[in-house]
Symmetry: C2
Subunit: 162 residues, 2 copies
């Protein structure tokens, strides 16, 4: 239960993919890095995917995590949105699979439950709790906070103490 692990956590979306790298050492979780891949509205879908794939790939090269945690998706507003979100997820999964990372998926409600204590939490609550739980000196931007939350859910699900 106390095995050390460096984890990549990703909250994918075409225009704002949240990336985080968390480390669990002797049962204590630290945030090593967080970032958001912001893609301009004018960039093509393919251009956005290139950027997401490249930035996640670069993060893996730099921090050499052994696994990736990512939110599963159950409901989206519309079919075109689901297709677009799916393509962003595909770029993230591919970047991780190409480097041999184990992939763990967590449902959105489970992520909110793990971090805020309720499955219906607002994005701002997630960011606040993530900052509090990890003792960060700044509040991460919402997309990065969502990625960190997925990572915390992973460690919680392994029964690790924060």
């Amino acid at each position: 239960m106390e095995t050390d692990e460096v984890l990549l956590a990703v909250d994918p979306s075409l225009r704002g993919t949240g990336i985080a790298v968390l480390e669990c050492r002797s049962g204590k979780v630290r945030c090593l890095h967080f970032d958001v891949v912001k893609n301009a509205p004018k960039l093509t879908v393919a251009g956005c995917l290139l950027e997401i794939h490249c930035r996640i790939g670069g993060t893996i090269e730099k921090f050499t995590p052994s696994a990736m945690a990512i939110e599963s998706v159950i409901y989206v507003q519309s079919f075109p949105t689901a297709i677009t979100l799916g393509s962003a997820r595909g770029a993230a999964l591919l970047a991780a699979a190409q480097r041999g990372l184990a992939i763990h998926e967590y449902a959105p409600r489970r992520v909110k439950q793990a971090v805020v204590g309720t499955g219906a939490a607002q994005k701002s609550q997630v960011a606040f709790m993530v900052r509090t739980l990890l003792g960060l000196t700044v509040t991460p931007p919402p997309d990065a906070a969502d990625a960190i939350a997925v990572g915390l859910t992973h460690f919680q699900s392994l029964g690790r103490r924060r």
Copy 2:
């Protein structure tokens, strides 16, 4: 209107991605290659994406097309299906974008209209017409036929004669 072009055409799906390479030379379209990336039901989503990305990449390296034609997606049975289909599309778009191919999208109805003459054609009709139009000696498997149909739509949309 008669510019020569080698085109990659793709009909993405997680378990059966159709791939085709078409060449238009002096207004005449030929099929250089078709194939289906079949992924076993037991393979993980990430494993399927790796295979799709790798096989499309390999096809691009071999035939050096300058562009990719792909179906746009408007409607899918369910949100999880849309997310999964989107991830397969993402892997295909990424393979093309990484090699600098121009990307052209065509709506499914337009593809069927172009090849069969009606937007509500069955898959078997598409395969039959694709074989007839290109004078193929065998009927391509349905997923490959759909990819070829997208390619034919591209050339038709450029006003080229088959």
